[in-house]
Amino acid sequence: MVQYSLFAKELRENRVKFFLLMAALTALSLVIPLFFEQVRTMLEQPDLSRFIGPQDLAFITASYSNYAWSQWIAKNLAQLATVAAVVFGAGALSGERYYGTALFLASRPVTRREIYTTKAAAGLFLLAICLFGSTLVLLLVSTLKGYRLDYGAFLTAVLITFTCAAVVYLGTAALSTVLPDPVKTAVVAALVWLLFSIPGYSGLPAAALSIFFQMKAIPYWIYGQNPIVPLGIFLVLAVAFYELGVWLWNTREL
């Protein structure tokens, strides 16, 4: 199902975006364990209660795991994973049409489904490296600094973030079969995903309908929700967007 030559080409074409995102994520992942002591001292200042509620403050300072989750998964990772998903997804198919190479590619002995699958696989692979790679850096530096972290729970939360990012990526890739310009695709995708984020600004339970609320793994980390539920739902959504993308790509005139 995955065509090796095309997979390698996709990795090469996305390498600049990948290295930039990876560098940003790695830098942010280093900041969290390296500056934890300074941040904790800051959080203990009495006048900070104007900015953070006492409950939130108590939760963040309760353990290094909570602190790392709040700063990494619920903040930096969720934000940059969305950006990465839109950036990688926007150029997936529209790039071939924009540069006029779609017919050249489609005239190779490969089905359109294989083309789409290979491109999607390459994008998801890069997204996974970005998310898990930078998280591993965080885990490693945290361990070296002697902080105790619940690795299993932390990686499960990152998996939820990745699955949500995969939905955003595959939705954007499906859009890239319709719009023949990567920049326009990225702008339209960003606007569409912005609409999807609206429920997240309200309180629960409506906030739970937002993919970006789920991307932070809030129900799992704070409310102890079984991770199988969000993972299952977002996997089904990802497959639905993938099939939509394949169908749209199959119906395009080249």
């Binding site: 065509q3 080409k9 050249f104 005239s107 190779r108």
Partner: protein, 305 residues
């Protein structure tokens, strides 16, 4: 093994409500060179995409190398080399990387043949594709189309804008390779000039309809006209050559009517400094009106067999 390289029956394609191909039933025999002629927008490109299995027809069907074009697209594309003027490659790639990229798609790949064609077109492996002139990119396209050793070679307006010498080189390379294996070449073109000396069979398309299918000789014009404006009037005009039947003057241009040896005469004239050098292309329009008239009279297309 079937005797036809290509066979379609009642092939039609409608895009956004507009008929692009209308009831095309055509047979292309195995071996030799077949020309698919028609002006811009006649449906040649759509026909080739359907044959390759890249796009589906709205109705009708066909066989390409004995394989169903509706269901066996991948197997067809393994056996069919395709390139054309409109083909765009990944401009950022060096030639060598594009070759490596394409090689990964095919069960067989003739490295030596690709290298031979690249050499003929003076194409260095390290050159970036976006930096290559159009003719060199067409040479690269030919190398990519022939390297998988196809049984059928589809060339979509491959030598538009080529001078006769380059065109000859291009077709000689394609024919030499395909003839050695009994392969078939189908060339689509919007100009008679591009194919008249290489094709032995031809079809003429106009507005998605097949107007003619038969020997190329049935489409070849009796004479061609070269229009030349010299930079400086030559002392010895190069018009004393077998094959030139008439020379007339129009303002500062010479109009040379050629019945034979077109390429030799073209080269002789082109060797002199000139401001303009053109070959007439009125042939196709004349043919279309002639065959459209015949079609209206008889109601049928002239058959290939």
């Amino acid at each position: 093994m079937t005797m036809t390289a290509l066979e379609t029956w009642h092939l039609s394609k409608v895009i956004k409500g507009c008929p692009v191909l209308d009831d095309i039933s055509l047979e292309v025999p195995r071996g030799g060179v077949f020309a698919l002629l028609g002006p811009e927008g006649s449906g040649k490109g759509a026909f080739l995409k359907i044959i390759l299995g890249v796009e589906a027809p709205t109705s009708g069907g066909g066989l390409c190398l004995g394989l169903d074009i509706l269901t066996r697209g991948v197997q067809i594309r393994e056996k069919v080399g395709f390139t054309g003027q409109a083909t765009r490659y990944y401009g950022y790639m060096p030639v060598a990387r594009l070759l490596k990229f394409c090689r990964g798609f095919y069960p067989q790949w003739d490295e030596a043949l690709a290298a031979k064609i690249l050499k003929q077109f003076d194409l260095p492996l390290s050159a970036k594709i976006r930096e290559l002139p159009p003719e060199a990119q067409q040479g690269l396209g030919l190398a990519l189309a022939l390297a998988p050793r196809p049984d059928l070679l589809l060339l979509d307006r491959p030598t538009e804008g080529f001078d006769p010498v380059r065109r000859r080189l291009y077709y000689d390379l394609a024919r030499e390779e395909m003839n050695s294996r009994g392969g078939t070449i189908v060339i689509s073109s919007a100009t008679l000039d591009e194919v008249s000396n290489v094709a032995d069979q031809a079809a003429l398309l106009h507005r998605g309809r097949l107007l003619y299918a038969g020997p190329m000789a049935g489409l070849r014009p009796a004479a061609r006209e070269i229009r030349v404006v010299f930079q400086k009037e030559p002392q010895d005009l190069p018009f004393h050559h077998p094959g030139i039947s008439r020379v007339r003057r129009e303002k500062n241009a010479y109009i040379v009517t050629v019945t034979e040896n077109l390429e030799e005469i073209w080269q002789k004239i082109a060797a002199l400094p000139h401001y303009a050098l053109e070959l007439d292309d009125s042939g196709l329009e004349g043919l279309i009106s002639r065959f459209a008239k015949e079609e209206r009279k008889s109601g049928t297309v002239l058959p290939l067999r």
